[in-house]
Symmetry: C2
Subunit: 266 residues, 2 copies
């Protein structure tokens, strides 16, 4: 297909700090509902899951920011992500005129995953993505639906799996880039990729393959950002047109290029 | 459309006692997955919600078998029905080769509802159904999806509502009867409509409008069954071809007419 004729699709990952805060969530949803292009929202809900686990006395263990997911924790994240958070976002978007529809990766075999097989750490019921059913997603988008996706997948053998929401957003963006001009937006609490982590005004407006190589060579990128940026460039290489990183409360400006960091091929 | 040319659609309501029991659920899902016609499964999950409410110390109040749904209880039923129960059924069906997809009434504006306005009882966030988006359901069935529906709806103004699963099954069956030859199956713990409530062998095999009038006139129907049967005849009058009531563990025989009570027009 001629890329210039492809329709635009925005895949937006909403950061955890927005989901935990009713007011922030409601203004974010207003900005998201106002986007006129086809769109998909991917969310997590980690802090709410942690709160429920505390109330239920289910101890939570984290390694490198990843939740170890035992059977009880899987039950909790399934209830919180696929139930409470997903359906409240759906209802909130509908009130704003979006024909929103909530899904997990398990629904309609949207995402195939397998239980993580790590050489030394048993992450429990944590899923790594194998493939995205882009034809099914296209069908739902063609029906005019706005998709809201919770980070639960299944292995197609009956096992639900807790799956990283950033990864799901990236895999969906990659999978859809055959049929759409996809922009992947990571909205979080920072203004973008910063040259100085302590200075919110030091946002890098654009990074491309060439400038990223220079920035890395001269140690100008904060180490914590490197895995995120490496992933962004993997998405670009797989066909995603642009990855945008910036503040959730400026989603409108992230979409129109007035805020955040844009990551592109060239 | 010529009714004889309509494709068959089975709308199956699964009883609460099956959902609470892993073994019963798994054999029920095997029977459900084996149905070759287009199909929709509607479930509740009341006992699991009650258990979670107890663990969280949220007091549950019932009036006439209906749960009074305050804000905390709404959160619990949304987590249990739309999250835990719905996604586990979806994953279970996928393992059996069904391309299952979980939804609530809120998703894609599948069902429009309003908060119940009762003259004397405040049921809280309980929904009564206004309409069913049968075009959307048809589109999903045409995509080959097996729909699994949790009894949460929204008022399209952002409010989620706890809604009776029997009612949802009935409204979906009625809504779909314009485009499909619909059979509505209520699977529960009894063998069907019994002439003698203490005798599981006294199942009435068929009831039609004429025989129902006679049975009622001669007081041969157990009073508790009358509202269910009145509802079944309302569904028939609205275009549903057949309502079948019987044992969940005999779902295959309910479908082929070898078990349970069949309720038809004539």
């Amino acid at each position: 297909m001629n890329q210039s004729k492809m329709e635009k699709l925005l895949v937006v990952k909403i950061g955890g700090n927005v989901i935990d805060d009713d007011q922030k969530l409601s203004s974010f949803l207003r900005l998201f509902a106002a986007i006129t292009e086809k769109k998909i929202l991917v969310h997590g809900g980690g802090k709410l899951a942690t709160q429920l686990a505390e109330k239920l006395g289910v101890e939570q263990k984290m390694i490198d920011g990843r939740r170890l997911t035992d059977a009880e924790t899987l039950k909790i994240v399934t209830m919180v992500y696929a139930g409470f958070v997903n359906k409240n976002i759906v209802a909130g978007l509908q009130a704003l005129g979006s024909d929103a529809m909530g899904l997990t990766g398990a629904d309609g075999s949207l995402i195939s995953a397998h239980k993580r097989n790590h050489p030394s750490i048993d992450f429990g019921f944590v899923g790594d993505v194998d493939s995205v059913n882009s034809g099914f997603i296209s069908s739902l988008l063609q029906l005019g639906k706005v998709l809201v996706i919770a980070p639960i997948t299944s292995d197609l053998n009956g096992q639900l799996l807790n799956t990283n929401a950033d990864t799901i957003a990236q895999e969906i963006a990659k999978g859809m880039s055959q049929s759409y001009e996809v922009e992947l937006i990571y909205s979080f609490e920072k203004a973008g990729v910063l040259l100085d982590v302590h200075d919110e005004n030091s946002v890098l407006k654009n990074i491309n393959v060439a400038s990223y190589a220079e920035l890395k060579a001269s140690n100008k990128i904060f180490a914590g950002m490197i895995p995120k940026l490496d992933n962004a460039f993997l998405a670009i290489r797989a066909g995603v047109k642009k990855v945008i990183i910036g503040k959730a409360e400026k989603l409108d400006q992230l979409v129109n290029g007035e805020s955040g960091t844009s990551i592109t091929n060239d």
